[in-house]
């Protein structure tokens, strides 16, 4: 085991995969000259000359050319700078990358990774704070993953690069410097499989990315009040591991879903819909969702604090499904 930050863990993943496969390369804005705005590409360009490309501010060309490169024999990793800017190349993602294989009857594979730093950073405001998986839940053909620890950051990124299909890799901006244990031996974190981070009998919490950590914090507080939650770290947001969620929910009879993105139309909506369908007879309370309130992310600290999902919101939702407190 080594202690690595998220940035270092993703950097290791990049190095290992670029060493393993000469067709892997990475492109994006401001990644080579300064090693990425979060230091996540530090030293990579020197190690792999010609395979770490600074691009112009041209997101449609970044994702579109990544598709073209993938179709013709390379394995591109495209960095979006901020997940918020997926909007700018949304057509390339949803109408081209996601549909190419299907529309052309499976003529080519599309081994392509989109790295998308997401999430709330205090003061970054409406256009630099979003978690955007809710924009993409409705798109068949895309895979979405998001790590919650340096180990999963490494393992998921390696899997994403080895995948023969388009994977969006959401990495939370606030987590980059955070450290944690990472196995020294090579490993992959499988796509499509959730992990139970904490066992508990009272309520199932489904979370991913930074919200796993907030859920773990909530769990500690709740435990003091005698409430034992089970925490499922989704890791893959699409297609998510319904079985693990349903198995847990059938046991606890209660489910809370927590993500940082806006609640309305977020990934949690699809999860809740499927869980109520598959665990209907086991549910003792409605499924609740915790996330950003239904507005853009505001700048001012008290406003941000009010709209962003916090540990306390998770605790409250858990108590609510346990009928411990009034609404």
């Amino acid at each position: 085991m080594s202690i690595l930050s998220f940035s270092e863990a993703t950097l290791q993943a990049m190095i290992e995969e670029m060493e393993r496969d000469p067709t892997v390369f990475v492109m994006g804005e401001d990644i080579a000259r300064q090693g990425g705005i979060f230091g996540q590409f530090k030293g990579l360009p020197d190690r792999f000359p010609g395979r770490v490309l600074d691009t112009p501010i041209s997101e449609t060309a970044i994702l579109g050319s990544a598709l073209g490169a993938a179709l013709t024999g390379l394995r591109p990793v495209a960095d979006m700078h901020f997940a918020d800017f997926i909007s700018v190349a949304y057509d390339e993602l949803v109408n081209q990358i996601a549909k190419n294989r299907y529309m052309f009857g499976g003529q080519a594979n599309i081994p392509l990774v989109v790295r998308a730093p997401d999430g709330i950073v205090p003061g970054a405001a409406a256009q630099h704070s979003q978690s955007v998986e809710g924009w993409l839940m409705n798109i068949p053909g895309l895979i979405m993953v998001s790590p919650s620890s340096p180990a999963t950051a490494k393992g998921l990124l390696k899997s994403a690069i080895r995948s023969n299909n388009p994977v969006i890799y959401f990495e939370h901006k606030v987590l980059y410097p955070q450290k944690g244990e990472v196995p020294d031996k090579e490993f992959l974190t499988p796509i499509g499989k959730a992990e139970v981070r904490r066992a508990g009998k009272d309520v199932t919490i489904v979370a991913y990315s930074i919200m796993v950590q907030k859920a773990l914090e909530a769990a500690q507080n709740l435990s003091k009040e005698g409430i034992e939650v089970e925490i499922i770290d989704l890791l893959t947001i699409k297609p998510f591991d319904l079985e693990t969620i349903v198995t847990s929910t059938r046991k606890t009879h209660r489910c809370v879903i927590a993500h940082e993105g806006v609640v309305h139309g977020g990934a949690g909506a699809e999860i809740a819909s499927q869980v109520q369908q598959e665990a209907f007879y086991y549910l003792d309370a409605p499924i609740l969702r915790v996330g950003t309130k239904n507005v853009p992310i505001p700048f001012s600290p008290p406003l941000l604090d009010f709209v962003a999902p916090k540990v306390a919101n998770i605790e409250q939702a858990v108590k609510q499904v346990l009928y411990r407190e009034g609404r």
Partner: protein, 339 residues
């Protein structure tokens, strides 16, 4: 038509006469295929939308005669001609237009998404301007793998107003990628005349914004297209960077089969058909220069007709995909990374 660039005198490169014949054959094959597709669409044998390339065959033909099977192209919604010229088979194309299982896309794509990746035809595209950056990506592959492959991006006059044009040309230019951007300026984007929608007087002028070369040529003169493309594609293979080539042509058919065409006069179209048909123009040239005899030309038409009819029979007879096949082909096979 078109503005002649001095750099490209209109001389026929010394092709063996087979090459000359091949150019004509390709144009005739495209025309024959599409004429039949139009009939089949009107007879409701082919569903969906169909956009015909009739009258624009000189461009695909002249360009593609300079490409290898390992080169790549990206196409538009008007892709039949590009596919045939790049080497796709008519029968599997026709089967696709019918929605049959043995079509190139297993019936999932249809006319607007015709593609044959095995010959480097990376697909027609329902999103106007969707192909620019895909071609850039193919150019990146050649660049990074240090091969001398090239990518050709076909696009319309209307498409030149998409932001994707700008981003792709700039990116190709800064990395000197081997991409030829071939504008098929057929005077209209659906109902919109190029003089209204495109602010530049020549689309090739837009090359200036990327520090690359831009040319405007007569796209209905297959000789000119062939010659210019020959020179330019050599430059691409030599690593000299991307080029913008505007080929002036004219869409003699409606934007799609069924277009009421209220945006232009019948006379305008008639004049173009009579005076500016690329096949007629090339045929006259070949006969005048005694390169081919009328019987040889007739034989080409006959051959093409037979090929098309065989394709139609094939398409008619082949089975539809089974309904559940609709759930296949979304994802490619995975080995180790999926649970």
């Amino acid at each position: 038509m078109g503005v002649r660039i001095k750099e490209f005198p209109n001389v026929f490169l010394e092709l063996p006469s087979k090459g000359k014949k091949d150019l004509l054959r390709t144009m005739i094959r495209i025309r024959s295929f599409e004429t039949r597709v139009e009939e089949l669409f009107l007879a409701k044998r082919i569903p969906g939308f169909v956009h015909l390339y009739i009258g624009e065959e000189g461009i695909a033909t002249g360009i593609m005669a300079n490409l290898r099977k390992t080169d790549w192209i990206t196409s538009t919604h008007r892709g039949h001609g590009h596919a045939i010229a790049k080497g796709a088979q008519m029968n599997r194309m026709m089967a696709e237009l019918y929605g049959k299982r043995s079509g190139y896309c297993k019936g999932k794509g249809g006319s607007m998404h015709i593609a044959d990746f095995s010959v480097g035809m990376l697909g027609a595209n329902g999103v106007v301007g969707g192909g620019f950056s895909i071609a850039v990506g193919a150019g990146m592959t050649a660049w990074m793998k240090k091969t001398d492959q090239v990518a050709v991006c076909f696009f319309g006059d209307g498409a030149s107003n998409r932001g994707t044009f700008h981003e792709a040309l700039n990116m190709a230019a800064i990395w000197k990628l081997p991409v030829l951007f071939v504008n098929e300026n057929n005077q209209y984007a659906s109902t919109t005349p190029v003089s209204y929608g495109v602010s530049a007087s020549r689309i090739s002028d837009r090359a200036v914004g990327y520090g690359i070369d831009g040319y405007t040529i007569d796209g209905n003169n297959v000789v000119e297209v062939y010659n210019v493309a020959h020179t330019l594609i050599d430059r691409l293979r030599a690593g000299k960077g991307p080029i913008l080539l505007e080929c002036r042509t004219y869409r003699v058919k409606g934007h799609y089969v069924g277009d009421p065409e209220k945006y232009r006069t019948k006379e305008e179209v008639k004049k173009q058909i009579e005076e500016n048909d690329p096949i007629q123009r090339y045929t006259s040239y070949l006969i005048e220069q005694s390169f081919l005899k009328p019987e040889e030309i007739d034989a080409l038409w006959k051959e093409a007709k037979e090929e098309v009819e065989a394709a139609v029979r094939y398409a008619e007879e082949e089975p539809y995909p089974a309904p559940e096949e609709a759930l296949e082909d979304l994802f490619g096979p995975e080995q180790e990374v999926w649970v």
